[in-house]
Symmetry: C2
Subunit: 235 residues, 2 copies
Amino acid sequence: MASLKYKYEYPHPAVATDCAVFGFDGQSIKILLIRRGIEPYKGLWALPGGFLRMDETTDQCIRRELYEETSLQPAVIEQFGVFSALDRDPRERVISVSYYSLVKKSDVKGGDDASDARWFALGALPELAFDHKEILDKALHTLREKIHFEPIGFDLMDRHFTIPDLQRLYESILGVRFDRRNFMKKILQSGVISECNESIAAPASRHAGRTPKNYIFNQDVYEAMKGNGRFKMEF
Amino acid sequence: MASLKYKYEYPHPAVATDCAVFGFDGQSIKILLIRRGIEPYKGLWALPGGFLRMDETTDQCIRRELYEETSLQPAVIEQFGVFSALDRDPRERVISVSYYSLVKKSDVKGGDDASDARWFALGALPELAFDHKEILDKALHTLREKIHFEPIGFDLMDRHFTIPDLQRLYESILGVRFDRRNFMKKILQSGVISECNESIAAPASRHAGRTPKNYIFNQDVYEAMKGNGRFKMEF
DNA sequence: GCAAAAGTGTTCTTCGTACACCCATGA
DNA sequence: TCATGGGTGTACGAAGAACACTTTTGC
């Protein structure tokens, strides 16, 4: 048996971080899961994450674990909840500090082909280890609340994107349909995106229909809005 | 020295909970703080809270600590963040799972006269122990975000209240002033409050002016709104 | 040429906002 | 009686919602 060399006057729980990584493939929102290679729950899928070290904050911990397990270094990682049920891990008492992350398709090159990491559609989730289904549900709920008031859609798409893609992203996250004309009018009026005339490498093969225009997100315009008025993306 | 009888294979941090308790006295929003009787930071003021036990979740922990330290059993306690800086506690590595709570003046009878617990106005805060100023700032930020879309004002007031009181509460939390007529029109139109003709015990001594009407919050109306439309209290 | 998807403008309604006067109460 | 604060309604402008046809593209 391993040596028990860390000693405390009072009992301490273990602390771990977990992260629900969201991605968008042009059609619908996806979740990145990792297949567990060890017990407990060996063979089941789980959120990336791992135990906190003494020389790192929880933010640093989840970034390190994400990089180790998926090669991702996402721009956006937000902490949204803590899970502390007594029996959530059969090995010992573990507190999970939970995060969600938004990644662009173009960032994923590394982690995507790892055989033990895969993207899953929300409607086709496998059975998850631990209480990770509960964590994922809360992450999704938080994301849905947040998308109304922060331009998080752009964190999920490439720098150049089309308005129909953006609309599909919103529709996929919120599970509703919008009127194309009103969506376009609203997002354009807000000023946070502008047309982009550079020719883009891959026009992304589609099946039929007119070729949509490309746009870019104006981070600076949004930053200015935060102070004065308020960015809203409700329908 | 105390015996170190709890042993682990890997190092574990301690886990504690802290809670920013908000109350409203009819004029402005207040915070409940506790004076520390022991080192570290002895004599300074701190948020109520304490260490997690192995037989309780963090939610149970903060409720227990609140009751022990302030005799409060608040209806509303929400977890909003985790603080994990390496040096936030000089004794050992401590992760703080942080909550805010909303209490009614009428609930406070117990904890209010405890000599080591006091309400402070936001503009007159004493020096706080640990990183509790940072925790409080984030709690306040969360509260400000939330008040736009959830009727949390009613959790801070007695069951019977007046519209001017409610307006002062919103103004105090958000730090702005509203037009009386528009405020009243909006809150009445929403349907979540209705006039209450029962005579109320103490009309709350005021200095001058017409006696305001009493209203009550319709929880059921609000619950119905959550599904269909959306409760908004923006100005 | 046909099906699928994208671009474009107008009308109507709803909501937000600005604004002034009278009334009840306590000092 | 005067000062303080509460109650009430209207008019204007901005934003949201509903709505149809034409254009481009792949098959």
